[in-house]
């Protein structure tokens, strides 16, 4: 490794790629449990470990190489049908992938991973040796390292030296062909055939991973690398080159159009303003317009990643948990090709893990109960992604026992999260959403999330941070579905432009359900707050000017029916201007309450994007607007 440049970058690349590879291996292992004889799977898993080993060698990660090498050899035997997969073998394999993942963790910290547990290594060797004992005694009696490399199938076959001579005479670029005695000697010392060949083909001692000279070097690099990487984390992204090419193409086109505009500008400044010049200007600007929006889309696309990358790791988690709980659960993945903003993928990881654990632990009933209920003992948890309009929907559903709205309400009252009165007026949907209240699912925190400190309330908060929402559907005895709805990207927020006087404000379109005219005569007072009945449902009205603390003499002409996770209400406004895709600019140091950011309209006007949740909580979260204050806004015209 001594003359190796860019070690940190290489490490980063390796980790990104190898982690994907390992997730893939994990999934294939889950499949393998179902069809243990599948040659294709065995081959793929073999190649996975093989590839990781190859890359790890260049990083001098000796322990990782050793572990991958053993596991690879095990799979070599398995795929050749020399040994069979038993539960013990499977456990060792699972243990090995787990350890490989841990080693990736060390590498991520810029540290060389320590050795795998001796027990794991012994188990792997024992699994491999399951076959070795049937091999010729000479091989079987060899010390452990000999068992590490599988004995070549031709162990008792052609003469080694003769073969070697044949190889050399085939004009291979072999530098030093060792003599027979040397080979014999080293073999007796317990070196594997592999090591011998490595010597034979002229690998120098200094090339070996872990050799003192390169090892020392590594220490130095480690120090530097660790420091430079510590702040970075995983900031790299893998982008399909065709997408990058598109970005490049468009930037080139924009450059050309800019040149055209420059020349037109000098023409115009020199007094040319005939219709031809103006027409050309019009064309150039229209073209630029088109190109820029194409470029925006293309750049956005570079951030989009198939959600399958995220899904990959879940079957293993579901399997392990189900096994611990003595349940038979299959995690079905649907829509892995759905693309989603990369930053969101990272932030979704934990919430989805929690929902899957929740489904396996609480959603799916014990096998005995399933049989008693006449269900199949094998249960299914579905993780599905799909795009709907400008939203991505994630559905996590189980075919378990479902939730009982009455019990949920009773539990919430018992825990003092809601009052009896509140419980009485709750419909089913509201009852299901009680699980998202902080403090509701205390049992989760103890049993299944093992110290992560993630409850359903945190799941909801995390989803909301992504401008998303989460909903629950459940049918008693049939199962529960959690539906997460997310915007396609965080960089662009579709907003509704509403007006107060002549001043526009932007509200996130994701919260908007509908726009309706407000007829002051229809505004009623229910429980001391101003409300309106929409299709039989009583909704509180909050005038926007009141929320912002503006005095207004005007009668709100429209109401925007808005829905957050906790509240559904009508935002009373003077008028609206339509929808727009806002590019959010955050206000760096200055953040007024209730303002999420700003955006610029096409006419150059700056518009505040409102943080509705913050405005609501300033009002005292759903307690409603006192009638008297509301009267001032509407009453003036009444």
């Amino acid at each position: 490794m001594s003359d190796f440049q860019g070690m940190e970058d290489l490490l980063q690349d390796f980790l990104v790629e190898a982690t994907d590879l390992l997730s893939d291996v994990d999934n294939k292992l889950v499949d393998l449990e179902k069809s243990p004889g599948d040659k294709g799977l065995l081959n793929d898993i073999f190649r996975g470990f093989h590839t990781i080993k190859g890359g790890a060698g260049f990083l001098n990660a000796t322990e990782l190489v050793t572990l991958c090498h053993l596991t690879e050899n095990l799979f070599d035997r398995l795929r050749n049908g020399e040994i069979a997969i038993t539960a013990d073998v499977m456990d060792s394999i699972m243990d090995a992938t787990g350890t490989v993942r841990d080693m990736f963790g060390s590498l991520e910290q810029g540290m060389q991973p320590g050795p795998a547990s001796p027990q794991l290594l012994d188990n792997l060797r024992a699994a491999i040796a399951g076959q070795v004992s049937a091999a010729p005694p000479a091989v079987a009696a060899a010390p452990a390292p000999a068992a590490v490399a599988p004995a070549p199938a031709t162990a008792g076959g052609p003469d080694w030296d003769a073969l070697h001579g044949a190889v050399a005479s085939e004009a291979m670029t072999i530098t030093a062909a060792p003599t027979t005695p040397e080979v014999m000697h080293t073999d007796v010392e317990g070196k594997s055939p592999e090591q011998i060949i490595q010597q034979a083909i002229g690998r120098r001692a200094t090339d070996k991973p872990g050799a003192p000279s390169s090892g020392g070097r590594r220490e130095v690099e480690k120090g530097g690398g660790g420091a430079s990487r510590s702040g970075g984390g995983d900031n790299s992204i893998r982008v399909d080159t065709t997408r990058l090419d598109q970005v490049l193409n468009l930037s080139g086109e924009i450059g050309l159009t800019k040149n055209r505009l420059n020349s037109l500008r000098s023409d115009i400044l020199n007094g040319r303003n005939d219709s031809d010049t103006l027409h050309a200007l019009d064309q150039a600007v229209s073209q630029l317009d088109l190109l820029v929006s194409d470029l925006q889309n293309a750049v956005m696309k570079t951030r989009m990643q198939p959600i399958g990358r995220l899904f990959q790791k879940y079957p293993r988690i579901a399997r392990d948990l189900a096994r611990n709980l003595g349940k038979d659960v299959e995690l079905v993945l649907v829509g892995e090709e759905t693309e989603i903003d990369k930053t969101m993928i990272e932030d979704l990881s934990d919430p989805i893990i929690h929902l899957i654990r929740n489904a396996v632990d609480h959603g799916i009933e014990p096998t005995a109960d399933r049989i008693a209920a006449g269900k199949s003992p094998k249960s299914e948890v579905r993780l599905e992604a799909r795009q709907e309009g400008d939203h991505i929907l994630l559905l996590i559903s189980d075919d378990g026992r479902g939730m009982n709205p009455e019990k949920l309400r009773a539990k919430a009252v018992e825990k003092g999260l809601i009052t009896d009165e509140e419980a009485n007026v709750m419909d089913e949907r509201q009852s299901y959403n009680l699980v998202f209240l902080p403090g509701f699912s205390t049992k989760d925190a103890i049993t299944d999330v093992s110290g992560r400190g993630v409850g359903m309330d945190v799941v909801k908060t995390n989803i909301q941070k992504l401008n998303g929402s989460i909903e629950t559907k459940s049918a008693l005895g049939k199962g529960t579905t959690f539906i997460i709805s997310l915007p396609l990207t965080l960089a662009i927020l579709p907003v509704l432009l509403v007006q107060l006087d002549q001043q526009p404000f932007a509200v996130p379109l994701s919260m908007v359900r509908e726009i309706l005219p407000i007829d002051v005569a229809e505004v009623q007072e229910v429980g001391g707050r101003a409300t309106m009945v929409v299709r039989g449902e009583v909704m509180p009205i909050y005038p926007l000017n009141y929320m912002l603390g503006w005095a207004s003499e005007r009668t709100p002409g429209y109401g925007v029916l808005m829905q957050t996770a906790e509240h559904t209400f009508i935002l009373a406004i003077d008028g609206f201007m339509g929808r727009e895709d806002a590019v959010i600019k955050s206000l760096e140091d200055f953040r007024p309450k209730g303002v999420a950011g700003v955006t610029t309209l096409s006419n150059g006007q700056i518009v505040l994007i409102l943080d509705i949740k913050e405005l609501l909580s300033a009002l005292g979260d759903g307690r409603g607007v006192p009638r008297s204050i509301f009267q001032a806004a509407i009453g003036a015209a009444a």
């Binding site: 860019g6 190649r47 590839t51 070697h164 090339d207």
Partner: protein, 131 residues
């Protein structure tokens, strides 16, 4: 060693992109800057048949078409059969070496290796083919 290493066009074949980058960097250290990549034997063959390549550095174990099959196909193609072909692998089993030799590999190198080792192998190949 050729007079102008940057004139020699390489094709690096490996399904693991990190590995392609490693090989590419090592080649760069040796002055070979004209490098294209392919992610498996099928892609590599299509590129090679497109012409213009002077040297192939290929991994053995790959999906779709492995390095050995690629080598055999290259050797049986009249326009490509003399192309220098260096086989890379993590395996150093004798049957692998023999298989590679019989298929007509110009050289064989075991991972991990340094630029110096790579150079050593390549010098030998260059001497032989007279590049």
């Amino acid at each position: 060693m050729p007079a102008d290493p940057s004139k020699i066009k390489f094709l690096v074949v490996d399904d693991f992109s990190t590995m392609r980058r490693i090989v590419r960097n090592l080649l760069k250290e040796l002055g070979f800057t004209n490098v294209d990549e392919a992610e498996d034997g099928v892609v590599a063959l299509a590129k090679l048949q497109g012409g213009g390549f002077d040297f192939v550095v290929s991994d053995w174990n790959m999906p779709n078409m492995d390095g050995l099959t690629l080598l055999q196909t290259v050797r049986s193609d009249p326009t490509l059969k003399n192309l220098p072909f260096l086989m890379i692998t993590a395996e150093a089993k004798k049957e692998n070496i023999i298989a590679a030799a019989q298929a007509g590999a110009s050289g064989y190198i075991v991972k991990p290796f340094t630029a110096a080792t790579l150079n050593e192998k390549m010098v030998k190949i260059f001497e032989k083919v007279g590049l």
